[in-house]
């Protein structure tokens, strides 16, 4: 027992020496991680809303395109999409930096999920509400804008928060196309300092510090929504 404690203390004793060295790099890396996360989530939201509306539209072509997109996004790993964009496009003359590529690729890939979440939210609003919008002379665009989407957003909020957590985690994939975010720095540090476990646990803890508040918040929202629905029934 004592022996293990000693080992643990020895393990920890590395941090005070190394942290000042790592600090600057890691803080910049956290920023990049957050930029990739926020950027790709924003892209996914825009794509998701458009796809969800297309999926529910009267136009069969739009519906088909949306279904096709969602199907592909559901079946192809985000990492493959990143590689396709980052390594596959330059030979065709399209060159993008790693961070924009990561934002675009993760956004495209997550957009399909977001679309399904928003669609479920839209379908949860009663058809009568859309009709009530028609009777006061609204166009279908206005009905979506003022009646359907605000409610769909509220209903989908907990699931969207979970998606945000997934995007945060998936942003680590950007390291594999050399975007200078947390995992790339972790790997670089572990090969220069030969302290893989130390840096990986630290980076893991950073991810948790970012993810756990989000997941608590999502749970809170979910619970609040359930009790609200309970009132209504």
């Amino acid at each position: 027992m004592m022996e293990y404690l000693d080992q643990f203390a020895a393990f920890l004793s590395v941090y005070p020496a190394k942290l000042p060295q790592w600090e600057g790099v890691l803080i910049r890396a956290i920023k990049t991680t957050l930029i990739v996360t926020a950027g790709s989530f924003a892209v996914a939201l825009v794509i998701g809303v458009l796809l969800a509306l297309a999926r529910l539209s009267k136009n069969a072509l739009l519906r088909g395109i949306a279904r096709f997109y969602i199907e592909i996004a559901r079946g192809v790993p985000a990492l493959v999409i990143l590689f396709l964009l980052y390594f596959g496009l330059p030979p065709l003359g399209i060159v993008m930096d790693a961070v924009p590529t990561a934002i675009l690729g993760l956004g495209l890939s997550t957009g399909g999920y977001v679309a399904e979440i928003i669609r479920a939210g839209i379908e949860a609003t009663h058809k009568g509400q859309r009709e009530a919008g028609l009777t006061i002379g609204m166009s279908s665009w206005q009905i979506n804008r003022y009646i359907i989407l605000p409610q769909a957003a509220r209903i989908s909020l907990p699931s969207l928060m979970n998606t945000l957590i997934t995007v945060l985690k998936d942003s680590s994939l950007a390291s594999l196309i050399t975007a200078p975010e947390l995992m790339l720095r972790a790997k670089a540090i572990s090969s220069t300092d030969f302290l893989p476990m130390h840096i990986l646990l630290l980076v893991g803890a950073i991810y948790l510090c970012l993810a756990i508040p989000l997941s608590q918040l999502s749970r809170l929202l979910e619970r609040r929504m359930f009790s609200k629905l309970g009132n209504r029934m």
Binding site: E71, G75, P77, L79, L173, M197, I212
Partner: protein, 221 residues
């Protein structure tokens, strides 16, 4: 015409290599799936015993392993564990890493499956003289399994996609072979498109099955 013929032969030769990788992808998927479901079932049932410290530990496990990126977990298994003298090969490292994070998901899936059942059911089972163990085995779990099939299917789809991350620890699965192939042939766009198609082919039947289950459940409600 010639170009298409060329495209066809190129695709065929790439596919030969990629398909070998697909075998490894399937192995990683199956291995980590079994591990994840086992962990999930055990922990979800253990939670129902309502032993405080145990539940706290389970909750911590779930939070931590759901919050960590898969890539971080794989790196910890592959590079990190060498610090404590454990040197895992890429394949076991991938299976253990994916299995551990999957275990956290499956615990949640089974937990909500079990809690979706009215506790009246448990009481009804007790009323006809079943022990809690038997009630779990014959009444609760069979129903919970049915409820959890769609989310489990979705998890499996996600898992197949997640195995692509194993390429980063040099497990010779599809994407790893694709990377090597593209540095050898520079046929990058075609290779990654083929990879995308391969993953689609693997996930498609599962996706259809899940959709089918969900439709059935909707009709049932």
């Amino acid at each position: 015409m010639e170009q298409f013929g060329d495209l066809f032969t190129r695709s065929a030769s790439h596919l030969e290599v990629l398909l070998q990788g697909a075998g490894v992808t399937v192995m990683i998927t199956l291995g980590s799936f079994v591990m994840a479901v086992t962990i999930g079932l055990v922990l979800a049932v253990a939670r129902t015993w309502k032993i405080r410290p145990l539940n706290a530990l389970i909750a911590i496990y779930v939070e931590v392993f759901r919050g960590l990126p898969t890539l971080t977990l794989l790196f910890i298994c592959y590079f990190g564990l060498t610090y404590v003298g454990i040197k895992l090969n890429p394949l076991p490292a991938a299976i253990i890493g994916l299995g551990l994070s999957g275990g956290a998901y499956c615990t949640e899936i089974f937990r909500s499956g079990i809690s979706a059942l009215h506790h009246g059911q448990r009481e009804a089972a007790a009323a006809i003289g079943m022990t809690p163990m038997r009630a779990m085995r014959f009444v609760i779990l069979p129903q919970a399994l049915r409820i959890t099939l769609p989310p489990l299917g979705n998890y499996a789809i996600g898992l197949i996609k997640d195995t692509a991350v194993a390429s980063a620890v040099a497990a010779p699965e599809i994407l790893f072979r694709a990377r090597n192939l593209s540095t050898e042939t520079f046929d990058t766009a075609l290779i990654y498109l083929l990879v995308a198609v391969l993953y689609l082919v693997m996930t498609f039947p599962l996706a259809r099955w899940v959709d089918h289950l969900e439709k059935k459940r909707k009709a049932w409600q």
